[in-house]
Amino acid sequence: MSTDQLDLQALFEQAPCGLVVTKEDGTILRSNQTFSSWIGFDSQALIGRRFQDLLTMGGRIFHQTHWAPLMRMQGSVAEVKLDLIHQDKRIVTMLLNGVRREYTDGAFNELALFGTTDRDKYERELLNARKIAEDLLREKTAAETALQQAQAELSLAYEKSQRRALFAEQMVAIVSHDLKNPLTAIKMASDILARGERTAKESKLLGHIGQSADRAERMIADLLDFALARVGSGIAISPSAQDLHAFVRQSVDELRVAFPNATLLHQTFGAGSAFLDADRVQQIIGNLVANSVAYGDLKQPITITSRMETDQAVVSVHNHGPVIPESLIAVLFEPMTRGAETASDVRSVGLGLFIVREIAQAHGGDVSVSSSAEGGTLFSVSFPLNIASDVSPPH
């Protein structure tokens, strides 16, 4: 058969796409065999049914809200994807192009439909991939937001704690300074009372008052130093040339009086003078010896060594007794750190070693510690001898 003899009827019925003509309200007037076979109906059975009734519920709503108004307004729609329900209830996905054509007896919709099952599968895969990507992005964004928030909270908390710490330290500085005056009054009053005739019991009580006031004074001095080191400009030193052995000996002599039940030995190595703040270094020795007395074995001597080397002066304090645990060594020089609680005389508030290190560092030196069962505990404070060039003395 030549193309001239093309049977238009057959072309309509067997076109390679579904063809449907409906009234404006969707009532099917005619559909081709291709369409009716795709959805499993007889062409005759479709006549009189509404096209939209062949769709899934979602497709029917979409028809009502989207492409029916479009057909009216712009006279055509293109590439609308629809799910139709096959007679055996399975879903057949089709792509719809449609035009609205006006004839003398009214307007009609002419629809062409294309099977798009495979393409639909592919598009759904794309959609799924997009959805997964979006979900991941959302998760990532959420995680980032949470992280930012945590960081903001952290820095806020840090600022707050800094402010609190500063306030507390300032308060320590003020209170310890203000406590000095009443303490001086207590000491003076008890000294005056001690000069008169006293019973044995009164003398003993006055002795307690004096010792307690001395202890309180040392604690306050430590607190003030701590406050200076932490809040103020640091512990100030006034160094001058000192005969190391001489002033360490003097210091040991004074400590023998303060700690009558301990045996203090002083040994010296080398000779010469160092550029030091004698009062502050005596404070170091006092703190270290007080620690040895508090935590060491008093049945054995405490040895204070002063040593002049070529480039540094070293003062060390050694005692026998319990080992300082490894965990404690790491934080030993931090404020408020204390060794094993000795039930009796806790000398200070845990600032002694912190102040030792602060003073050593103010001299350009440092402090170290070693502790073992056989060797005992040894604190060594070193002062570089070229200190004059490194640390400018206060005016």
Partner: protein, 271 residues
């Protein structure tokens, strides 16, 4: 916020009262084209697009604000304040009828009357109410919207399809009246079809004309009758029409009913 730009507000006509036309889910204000010319000689007419639809400013689309119809109602009240003069009659199609009712509740007294075209206060059936849909139907719609993502995305224009007997349409016009950002369309579909405004609408005393199609899948006759029963000042007018858009497919019947209802507010008719 420039309301004109945000909602693509168009003002036309003249009269002592203002008709504000608010479109429904799916398309935009162009769907009022069959109706407005009848009213511009006697009324001031305000057309606008809901944010997210048509030529509205998509940058104004706030997922939180528009996660409930109240967000759209708030916009409507703002539009009334800025563009209306005299008594305001809201002509709302479909979901916009409920947006109008919510706006009336939010700011009582601003709306003198409602014309509700194919309204439904609740789409999903419950024990004592028949809205016409089951929850899975709404999921099926979301799925259909999703599967039309590629073709309807505003970033991908479909091919030209010439319409016989009409001037050739530009490529950018094809499907454009109903084209929305897919994510916005899905959220709006969810907000629309999952909404239940029965509490909000019951007892609303503002005069209301309900334009009910005889055969409407989205808003069945029973829903129109339900609304008529719970709105004490309502008139139910059943229009012989198949489909959800009688203002497009049966405009003259709609105009007739509206003319009767609107006569107390209309201005002089100048021919």
């Amino acid at each position: 916020m420039d309301l004109q730009h945000r909602n693509n507000v168009n003002v036309m006509g003249d009269g002592p009262a203002t008709l504000i036309f608010s479109h429904g889910f799916g398309c935009d204000q162009t769907m009022w084209g069959y109706l407005v010319n009848d009213f511009t000689p006697r009324f001031k007419v305000v057309l606008y697009d809901l944010v997210g639809a048509g030529q509205s400013n998509l940058e104004a689309y706030d997922r939180d604000k528009y996660n409930a119809l109240g967000g759209y109602a708030q916009d409507l009240v703002e539009i009334i304040d800025q563009f209306a003069s005299g008594p305001v009659i809201l002509v709302g199609h479909s979901v916009s009828a409920m947006i109008g009712a919510l706006a009336d509740r939010q700011s009582p007294g601003k709306i003198a009357a409602h014309v509700m075209i194919g309204p439904s206060p609740c789409y999903i059936d419950s024990d004592d109410y028949s809205g016409g849909f089951k929850l899975e139907d709404i999921h099926s719609l979301l799925d259909t919207l999703d599967s039309n993502y590629l073709g309807w995305s505003s970033t991908m224009a479909p091919v030209i399809m010439g319409a016989p007997g009409q001037p050739a349409l530009g490529e950018e016009l094809t499907n454009s009246f109903c084209r929305t950002e897919p994510e916005i369309a899905k959220q709006f579909a969810r907000v629309t079809f999952m909404s239940d405004n029965r509490q909000d609408i019951a007892g609303l005393t503002t005069p209301t004309l309900i334009l009910q199609s005889t055969d409407d899948l989205i808003a069945p006759l029973a829903v129109g009758e339900y609304l008529h029963a719970v709105l004490p000042n309502s008139t139910l007018c059943v229009v012989d029409n198949v489909g959800h858009c009688p203002h497009m497919s049966a405009p003259s019947a709609c105009c007739e009913a509206m003319d009767r209802f609107l006569s107390p507010w209309e201005g002089a008719h100048v021919d």
